[in-house]
Amino acid sequence: MTNSIHDLGGMHGFGPVEIEPDEPRFHADWEKRVVAMMRGMGATGLWTLDGFRASMENLPPVTYLSVSYFERWCRGLERQVVAHGLVGEDELTAGRALRPGIRLNRKLTLDDVNKGGMATFERRAPAPARFKAGDSVRTRNINPATHTRLPRYARGKFGTIEAVRGCHVFPDSAALGAGDNPQWLYAVVFAGRELWGEEADPSIKVSIEAFEPYLTAA
């Protein structure tokens, strides 16, 4: 969902940033296994990164805010494996497999891990870029009920294209399993006052990485 609790930019009330001196990489061993399972199951290709983000964004708001980051990952992963028919709710309850697994097209091997490398999201451009650095744009005021990467605080705002990033997988489509639908990506910079009003600090600028469908010429 788009206007859900994950879209935190500009909200008040969460208090000061709590900084932990000499913070360890992990706070519990289970967090390590969650990271590993995320990568392992992500490699099956059954869902996209944005499909996974959407599954966490769809958590009930109270749950989203009250559990830790890696617990959100765990819950998101549970939702994904059930939604894709890989695991039954009854198996999650039982804590063990009750039926054989279904056949996967791809499974992450030790060799894959040792070879390293990360996914790239750049794609061949189906059309020339509509904007160039220096162009004035206005972000669209969109409120789709599905996943988007245009934050609420930056909708309907005037900004300037600062850089053209290339053509990338469009999260709004990929999250729905509707394919890459590649779109041009831009760095769009806004004056703090455009985002937060006349009383905002004039020395602040904020940029987002905005896909072309989020933008209109201004």
Partner: protein
């Protein structure tokens, strides 16, 4: 207490999560979806290979080599991957330079996107609701909580990581480290200085800064 934070004193909550995660891993393994050896190696890599020392080497190189710095700011992924002695990165990495005029800060308001390849795992505060909500609207207040105060007149630029591009702040080289080797300079580069919530350590008292 921020709602997004991880609480350390809830023993029962921790063991509940241990059980929950163990159950999920058991099911995925029994059904043949994951290879335990591959998962173990992922954990090993995250624990021993990636971390802010990778980014620190990049920054130190940029401080001593103006030609590399120019290439880094033009295309960070390409610059890093074509330079001997640096760990390769395959993200769409973008380096942004602090100057006397402008200080850069990186955030991900929508989730917690972070340049794992060069900084390792993000700290809990980076993933927390207070940081994600306030970095874009009250960056000076946030920086103050990190003990960072900038000279008046410094503009602040926030980079919200809303796509698969990842940002690495190139902090200014501290005064007093003239003639230092690249290796010695790397010890002054902190994780937070590469996110924009900190400054490099001072050469006179390297242990004092975070």
């Amino acid at each position: 207490m921020p709602a997004d934070d991880h609480t350390h004193d809830h023993g029962s909550e921790l063991s509940e999560m241990q059980l929950r995660v163990h159950a999920l891993e058991t099911i995925l393994t029994e059904k043949g979806y994951v290879d335990p050896a591959a998962l173990d190696q992922i954990v090993e890599n995250v624990e021993t290979k990636i971390g802010p020392h990778i980014g620190a080497r990049i920054i130190a190189r940029a401080w001593v080599d103006p030609e590399f710095k120019q290439r880094l700011l033009a295309d960070a992924t390409k610059a890093v991957n074509s330079t001997a002695g640096l760990d390769p990165v395959s993200n769409h990495l973008i380096a942004v330079e602090n100057t006397p005029q402008t200080h850069n800060v990186v955030v991900c308001t929508l989730c917690s996107c972070y340049p794992w390849a060069v900084l390792g795992l993000p700290p809990v505060w980076y993933k927390s609701a207070p940081y994600r909500s306030r970095a874009v609207i009250d960056p000076k207040g946030v920086l103050a909580e990190f003990g960072v105060s900038l000279p008046s007149g410094t503009a602040i630029r926030i980079w919200d990581s809303t796509a698969e591009t990842r940002f690495l702040v190139v902090p200014m080289r501290p005064a007093g480290a003239e003639g230092w080797s690249e290796e010695a300079l790397a010890t002054l580069v902190t994780r937070d200085s590469m996110v924009g919530t900190g400054l490099p350590k001072s050469p006179e008292k390297p242990e004092a800064a975070r």
